[in-house]
Symmetry: C2
């Protein structure tokens, strides 16, 4: 099994490349449009064929590379069935293992950051998307976010995995790359160390985070499996220029 | 493959249990005498037979369980050949893979914390002992410690492993359980982020750490593969009482 953790620095997103050496097939979890050339070059360098892109949820901070990768190399698009995206080839559901060659992802519905959010358990690793971050979690104040639901997803579902399960989040803003269930159960300041639902809700309702600058473009773009916005206000132009340049270059 | 990360709280030591389901054989890396009953119970619970204990180095802060486990269940003792321990059944050397059933450890001589220190590469995991800790490293001011050597061991050897390699240290004092080579290359305040040898030596020579309270008992005890001191000064009595109680209970 091939495993690569790729970092997209503009949005501090982690993309995960899983490769099955026997079938030559690969999956990319949460690929970012800004890094499409780098990620496809990596798949190629490893002698693999990209079979599927798989998103954990409808992202608000960046554009998924799913559609552009499909156009570039013919990969199929897997996304949570809950979202009913017409552009998806496969709808992910809990209880239905997602298989590509010998790679098997076990989808875990983990709502709370968004209602359609999924984590993916892969052997002794769990790709937690924005549900569980290293010493943090995704915000719960948009996209049908719900602190009650997130508490249940993390403490009632992810924290029941074996202690040694490796936690690979969709983002880290401090260049941490990996954690474990044991580590988050002890150290996560929002959800670990026996935090109650009331404590968690108090933390989440007092974060006072700014409105995400890109959300009104990213969410509709990602509901189309990754359409980069063509008309953007000036303050987002540089961000998207970088995305477009990376995409072409 | 079975993998368990066990924590001994008195010395904040991590012991790693590796099990091969086909042969039923297990290895314990850096077992602690205080936790002997718990660790052997875990091996038994998993339906495994303890074939070997393997130490990364001669510990100064705790007593290895190697000898007591040999007495209890007949496991063999593997230790760095460099140390020429008469009590060891197998001497570990770099370049000679250590095989137990289908488990294969690749020993990496990583001097600097102690001169005879070894790390063990196991597939995509490296057990770094006290050479590389999460956002830290072992001290270099006793047991033939040498900052020049440790810099070379970490930056010249461990940091050349693939970025995704999981770093499992022998200790963590803040309940962190796992890191990766990429993470330590970026975040380790002593050895990461392009630190020069001169910077590292300056950091290590200014730590002003106290003399380790247990070293004068632990080192000779561990050179006998784990003999618990029978006569201790009063200030260490409570520590050893806890060790003995755990050992019996």
């Amino acid at each position: 099994m091939i495993f690569k953790q790729l970092r997209e620095p503009l949005s501090s997103t982690y993309t995960y490349l899983l490769g099955d050496q026997d079938s030559g097939l690969a999956i990319l979890i949460d690929p970012v449009i800004a890094a499409i050339d780098r990620d496809l070059a990596e798949v190629h360098r490893l002698g693999l064929q990209l079979a599927y892109t798989v998103d954990t949820h409808i992202h608000a901070d960046h554009i998924t590379a799913a559609l552009e990768m499909k156009r570039a190399v013919g990969s199929k698009i897997a996304a949570p069935a809950y979202e009913r995206l017409p552009c998806a080839d496969v709808g992910i559901e809990e209880g239905k293992p997602f298989r590509v060659g010998s790679l098997v992802l076990h989808p875990l519905h983990t709502p709370g950051h968004t209602d359609g959010h999924f984590a993916y358990l892969f052997d002794d690793r769990v790709f937690t998307g924005d549900a569980l971050l290293i010493e943090g979690c995704g915000r719960t104040d948009f996209q049908n976010g719900d602190a009650d639901a997130l508490y249940k997803s993390v403490r009632g579902k992810l924290f029941t995995l074996p202690d040694e399960t490796l936690v690979y989040p969709a983002h880290d803003y401090k260049e941490r790359f990996v954690s474990s269930i044991a580590q988050e159960k002890r150290r996560n300041p929002r959800l670990g160390d026996g935090k109650t639902l009331e404590q968690f809700k108090a933390i989440m309702s007092n974060l006072n985070l700014p409105y995400p600058k890109f959300i009104d473009y990213a969410v509709p773009g990602n509901r189309q499996c990754g359409v980069c916005p063509s008309h953007l206000p000036e303050d987002l132009a540089e961000y998207c220029k970088q995305m477009t340049e990376s995409q072409q270059g």
